[in-house]
């Protein structure tokens, strides 16, 4: 073993007894080795002396400790406080989000008079079907095969003429129903808003309302803002004026409870927004063939902060359109009667349809019915989901600029979105967002073909920001 290794082990105190003996012998017989050893010991002593001589300046040491400790305690307190607040805010936000979700999705209770209306129509139609004779039964009735004390005299007088008319109307209405079912629409339902304002309201009808319904004669009826559906016109034509001719056997459990209009344009998507954005479009492209009555949009996003400046996440939401949908309805009247009773002017208030376009129907022409096309407000909802990527550029303690790029799809096709927005964070963990967005997507509306739509809008929202360390 060389002298350097012996010296090194000696300094480390790790020299073995055998090496120590050999080392000492080497130092005694070799003056150069002794000189190297002395030099290394001196160097070692110099370093120890240097180490002992270095003193941290007391004032500097104290000030640094005070500053760091003060900062440390401050941060500890702030962390404690901010965490408590953050959890409280988050709990509140989740509660509000939960309430808002119920508000948004519960069609029947809180949010949508419109949805309540349609669901009630479905219920009432079921009820009506169960209580009103079927077409076959009505056909039997019209043929005189009913067991009524008074029916025989009635049918014996005018049976042939009335049966002829009834059979015609039943045939028409069967065709109408077949056509309507094929389109998954109900022109009679759609038309009832109009008909309820027409002279034909005096016919037996059924009413629907957004107000509370009460049970009356086996039907739920309501007053006030109601909807009148003249379905019983299917079976009782204008020529049969009520029970005097049908002697009870023909009195259907259907009531007229009033008239009015439905709030078609009332929508539930206004309200507090949490953890997401709402959009107010100020420019739309691709809607030239559609007359939009209203538009609203809402989205929620869940992002993960992957660094100080970047987030990745999922964003999903929906937007509602209310647009005019031209719908053909059948009005139980001749063209002359319609003009005479001013049904035309009542139906077509906007004068979009010329008077001479009133027909007896293209698909099933019948002189007892007038075919009218009326604009019905329809609601169309698009759901979408996307992946997003955020870049955040902090400006101050409270303000940040951010950009978001979304790639995703709607239930009609592809969707892309770009948002530029600010984050104002008055309270740590809770930010208010304001910005602009461009959203582009493919959309197919019932009254138009699939096409590319794009819109620019103002976005606003609230974000809850939680840090997990």
């Amino acid at each position: 073993m060389g002298i350097d290794k012996f010296i090194n082990d000696y300094l480390d105190g790790s020299i073995t007894p055998e090496d120590d003996k050999e080392f000492r012998d080497m130092l005694e017989r070799d003056p150069l080795a002794k000189e190297e050893f002395d030099l290394m010991i001196s160097t070692h002593a110099l370093l120890k002396s240097d180490a002992e001589s270095i003193r941290i300046p007391e004032d500097f040491q104290r000030k640094v400790e005070e500053r760091i400790l003060a900062q440390y305690l401050h941060i500890a307190n702030v962390n404690y406080g901010s965490k408590t607040r953050k959890y409280a805010y988050s709990a509140l936000a989740l509660l509000l989000l939960f309430v808002f979700s119920i508000y948004s999705i519960s069609d029947g209770k809180l949010s949508s008079n419109y949805s309540l209306f349609w669901s009630e129509i479905a219920k009432q139609q079921d009820l009506l079907v169960s209580q009103v004779p079927t077409l076959d039964e009505q056909w039997i009735i019209s043929q005189g095969n009913i067991k009524s004390p008074t029916s025989s005299s009635y049918f014996s007088n005018n049976i042939n003429e009335r049966n002829r008319k009834n059979s015609q109307r039943v045939e028409i209405l069967e065709q109408s129903r077949t056509m309507v079912e094929a389109k998954s629409e109900s022109p009679l339902v759609n038309s009832s808003k109009v008909v309820s304002q027409s002279p034909f309201l005096k016919l037996n009808s059924i009413a629907f309302s957004t107000n509370d319904f009460v049970d009356k004669n086996n039907l739920k009826v309501a007053s006030g803002n109601i909807f009148v559906q003249p379905l019983n016109n299917l079976f009782l034509t204008r020529n049969f004026q009520g029970s005097s001719e049908f002697d009870g056997n023909s009195v259907f459990p259907v009531q007229i409870v009033g008239k009015g209009t439905l709030p078609y344009t009332e929508y539930p998507t206004k309200g507090v927004l949490l953890s997401g954005f709402s959009c107010l479009p100020f420019a739309k492209f691709g809607f030239a063939d559609v007359k939009l009555k209203s538009y609203s949009a809402f989205s929620q996003s869940f992002g993960y902060k992957i660094s100080d400046n970047f987030r990745l996440g999922l964003e999903f939401g929906y937007f509602d359109f209310v647009f005019e949908h031209p719908t053909m309805i059948l009005v139980p009247a001749t063209i002359a009667e319609a003009k005479e009773s001013k049904i035309y002017s009542r139906i077509d208030k906007d004068k979009r349809q010329e008077e001479n376009l009133l027909t007896n129907g293209n698909d099933f022409s019948n002189s007892n019915y007038v075919q009218v096309v009326v604009p019905i407000d329809r609601k169309f909802q698009i759901y979408w989901g996307s992946l997003f990527f955020d870049y955040i550029y902090p400006l101050t303690e409270y303000f940040s600029l951010a950009g978001r790029v979304n790639v995703g799809a709607t239930n009609s096709g592809a969707l892309g979105k770009v948002i530029l927005f600010t984050e104002f964070q008055p309270i740590k963990g809770l930010a208010i967002n304001l910005g602009v967005e461009n959203k582009s997507y493919w959309l197919t509306l019932p009254s138009s073909s699939s096409s590319f739509k794009s819109e620019f809008g103002l976005v606003y929202g609230v974000s809850i920001k939680m840090d997990f360390e």
Partner: protein
């Protein structure tokens, strides 16, 4: 581990303090700071060779210490602390003009040592001529008296390499400090 400082706490006190520090105890931080701050200052000063830079690095070290308190696993606070100190010093060295590392056969010194201050400057300059990898190993061993196992852990290298670096640094420094060593201690 022994030191050269006034605030000496025994191993048990330091262990308890490091545990409490993880839980956010300001008192524990005070104990650890009192014990380790002279060592860290000395390490920074000899690593960087400049008082101002050493003070900047020193403050940064203890700022990082409490910022990263939750990452400390509670095993060896000293080793964890010097790992942070080493990284901060290496960053500072990288930011400055590359130092003229010494070649083993091109040693030079240009002034005569006449007092302790001169001796310290000479030692500092000699240490600064060591390659950084040898410098940090030597300071941890000769100044802070860390074991080779602890040095290996702080530097993130193997035990044998830690020993080799200290050995090489000693040999290099022996040549660098030969004039002043002879002046101070003469031939024994």
């Amino acid at each position: 581990m022994k030191g050269f400082d006034e605030h000496i706490y025994d191993e048990e006190q330091l262990r308890i303090a490091s545990e409490d520090f993880r839980r956010g105890s300001a008192e524990a931080f005070h104990i650890l700071y009192q014990h380790y701050s002279p060592k860290v200052y000395r390490f920074c000063l000899r690593m960087l060779g400049n008082r101002e830079k050493a003070e900047d690095a020193f403050q940064e070290v203890f700022t990082k210490v409490f910022e990263n308190a939750r990452t400390f696993r509670g095993e060896n606070f000293g080793a964890w602390l010097f790992t942070i100190a080493r990284h901060i010093c290496l960053n500072a060295i990288r930011l400055e003009k590359p130092y003229q590392n010494v070649e083993e056969n091109s040693l030079h010194y240009s002034y005569v040592v006449s007092d302790d201050i001169g001796m310290r400057d000479f030692v500092q300059k000699a240490i600064m001529q060591l390659p950084v990898s040898l410098r940090e190993a030597l300071i941890l061993r000769e100044y802070e008296e860390y074991s080779y196992e602890e040095i290996a852990k702080i530097l993130g290298i193997g035990l044998s390499l830690a020993k080799i670096r200290v050995h090489r640094a000693r040999l290099l420094l022996k040549k660098l400090l030969e004039p002043i060593a002879k002046e101070y201690y003469g031939n024994r």
